[in-house]
C-alpha cells in the first residue's frame, strides 16, 4: 500500500508539471521539510510523555522520531542544493530557512550522538527525554534569531514558492501525504526494531546470569 502511495506521488506530479525537470524535486523537498518538522515535535512529545508516565514506548517513539527526523531533514538539506545549483548557481546560502533547518538537523544529530554514547547507561531514557525537550524549545528561538540575523544582510534570492497554482499545490499535498505515510511506516518499523533489540538484550542478560 505504501508503494502505491509513493508511486502515486511520482506519477501524478509529472503530469502536472509545466516547468523544468529539476523543479520536480521541489515536491519532495517541501514535503520532507514538513515531515521533518513534525518528527521533531514527536521527539518533544515522546520526551514529555516519558518523563510523565515513565513508559518505555514513549522513549521508543522519541528515538525513532529523532532518527526519522534526521533522515527527512537530510533529504531536505541534500535536495535543496541539488535544486539550487542549476537554478541559482550556488550550492548553499546562509539564508534563514536553510540555516534554521541545518541547525535543527544538527540538534537532532547531537541527540542521536548523545543516545549512542549513553548506550547501556541506566539513565539513557531520562537524559534523552530532557535533551529532546530542550532541543524542541530551542526550535522557535533558532528560527527567530536566524531570521533577524539575516534581515541586516538582505539575501538576493527568489522565494521557494514560485507560483503555486492549484495543480502544483495538489502535487505538494499528495507528496506530503505520501511521505507522511512513509514516515509513519518507518517510525513503526524503527520502534519494533528497538523493542526487539531490547528484548534480545534482556534475553542475553538472562542467559549470562543463568550460566554463572
Amino acid at each position: 500500500m505504501m508503494i502505491v502511495a509513493l508511486y502515486f506521488a511520482f506519477v501524478y506530479a509529472p503530469t502536472e508539471k509545466v516547468m523544468g525537470a529539476v523543479q520536480r524535486i521541489f515536491y519532495f523537498h517541501v514535503a520532507s521539510a514538513w515531515v521533518g518538522l513534525l518528527s521533531f515535535f514527536f521527539v518533544f512529545l515522546g520526551g514529555v510523555l516519558y518523563l510523565w508516565k515513565r513508559e518505555e514506548k514513549y522513549d521508543h517513539l522519541a528515538h525513532a522520531a529523532a532518527e526519522m527526523g534526521v533522515l527527512f531533514c537530510l533529504i531536505v538539506l541534500v535536495t535543496g542544493p541539488i535544486w539550487a545549483k542549476p537554478v541559482w548557481n550556488v550550492w548553499w546560502t546562509w539564508d534563514p530557512r536553510l540555516t534554521s533547518t541545518f541547525i535543527l538537523w544538527l540538534i537532532y544529530v547531537a541527540y542521536l550522538l548523545f543516545r549512542s554514547s549513553l548506550r547501556h547507561h541506566p539513565s539513557i531514557r531520562v537524559y534523552s527525554a530532557v535533551y529532546g525537550i530542550i532541543g524542541f524549545v530551542d526550535v522557535p528561538i533558532v528560527w527567530m534569531s536566524i531570521r533577524w540575523w539575516r534581515t541586516i544582510h538582505p539575501t538576493v534570492l527568489t522565494s521557494q514558492k514560485i507560483n503555486l497554482d492549484p495543480k502544483m499545490w495538489t502535487s505538494v499535498l499528495v507528496c506530503f501525504a505520501a511521505l507522511l505515510l512513509l514516515y509513519f511506516v518507518f517510525v513503526r518499523l524503527r520502534i519494533d526494531l528497538e523493542r526487539t533489540r531490547e528484548r534480545i538484550d534482556r534475553l542475553q542478560e538472562r542467559v549470562l546470569e543463568a550460566q554463572s
Binding site: 548523545f114 547507561h121 537524559y127 535533551y131 524549545v137 533577524w148
Partner: protein, 223 residues
C-alpha cells in the same frame, strides 16, 4: 540560599587552592584570540569586521573547558554522592554549580576583555561596558545549559567530546545574538537594533535557566 552560597564557596575554595583550572583556561582563551587573529586577518587589518567573532569563539571554547571541569571535580572521590545525600535540593545544587561556573567565566572574561581591546585596537568607550554586559548575559545562558549537559555527560567515556557536541547546536542562537550585539557595539552602529538583540538574549537566558533548573531534578534522580 545559604546552601547555594556554601556550594559556591566550596567550588571557589577548591579552585583557589590550586588555581590550575583558571590559569590554564585563561591562557587558552588568550591563545584562541591569537589563533583567531592569524586565522582570519587575511585581507589586511579589518579588525572591526572579524574581531567580534573571535571574542565569542574564545568565550565558547574557554567556557567549555570550565564547564567540563566544574562537574569533573565532583567525580574525584565521588563527592557528587555526598552532594546528593546533603540537605541541598537538586535545584540548589544546580544553582550552586551554575553560579560557580558563571563567576569563573565572568572573571575570565573580565581579564581577557581589556586584552582583546588592546590586541584588536578597539578604544575603551561606553560601548565596551555594554559589551561586557552582553558577555555576562551570554555567560548566564551558557552556564545554565552547560552545567545541565555536563552533569548528564559526567559518567561517559567520551565526556568532553559529547559535551561540545550536544551543547553547541542548542547554543547557536545565543551565539548569533551575542555576535550581532558585538558587531553593533564595536563598530559604533545604530543602537536601536542592539536593544532588540539584547532583549532576545535575556529572553533566551530566562527560558533556558528555568528549563535547566527544572530539568536538573530529573537528571539528579538518575545519577
Amino acid at each position: 540560599m545559604s546552601i547555594v552560597r556554601s556550594l559556591i564557596r566550596k567550588d571557589l575554595v577548591i579552585e583557589y587552592r590550586s588555581r590550575q583550572a583558571f590559569v590554564t583556561t585563561l591562557f587558552f582563551g588568550l591563545l584562541v584570540l591569537v589563533v583567531g587573529n592569524f586565522a582570519l586577518s587575511v585581507a589586511g587589518d579589518q579588525y572591526p569586521v572579524f574581531a567580534p567573532g573571535i571574542l565569542w569563539i574564545s568565550f565558547l571554547f574557554s567556557g567549555l573547558l570550565f564547564l567540563n571541569h566544574i562537574l569533573y571535580i565532583e567525580k574525584d572521590e565521588s563527592t557528587l554522592s555526598g552532594l546528593l545525600i546533603s540537605p541541598a535540593t537538586p535545584g540548589q545544587i544546580f544553582l550552586g554549580k551554575m553560579l560557580s561556573a558563571l563567576l569563573f567565566l565572568i572573571a575570565l572574561e573580565a581579564l581577557l576583555f581589556p586584552v582583546f581591546h588592546i590586541l584588536f585596537n578597539f578604544s575603551f568607550t561606553i560601548n565596551s561596558l555594554w559589551l561586557f554586559l552582553v558577555i555576562v548575559f551570554a555567560a548566564v545562558g551558557y552556564c545554565s545549559l552547560g552545567v545541565l549537559f555536563s552533569t548528564m555527560s559526567l559518567n561517559l567515556k567520551n565526556r568532553e567530546m559529547i559535551l561540545s557536541a550536544i551543547l553547541f547546536p542548542i547554543l547557536l542562537p545565543m551565539l548569533v545574538m551575542a555576535v550581532k550585539c558585538s558587531i553593533i557595539l564595536l563598530n559604533h552602529l545604530q543602537m536601536n537594533q542592539f536593544y532588540s538583540w539584547l532583549k532576545l538574549l535575556i529572553a533566551f537566558d530566562v527560558i533556558f535557566v528555568v528549563l535547566s533548573y527544572w530539568s536538573y531534578y530529573w537528571i539528579l534522580e538518575e545519577v
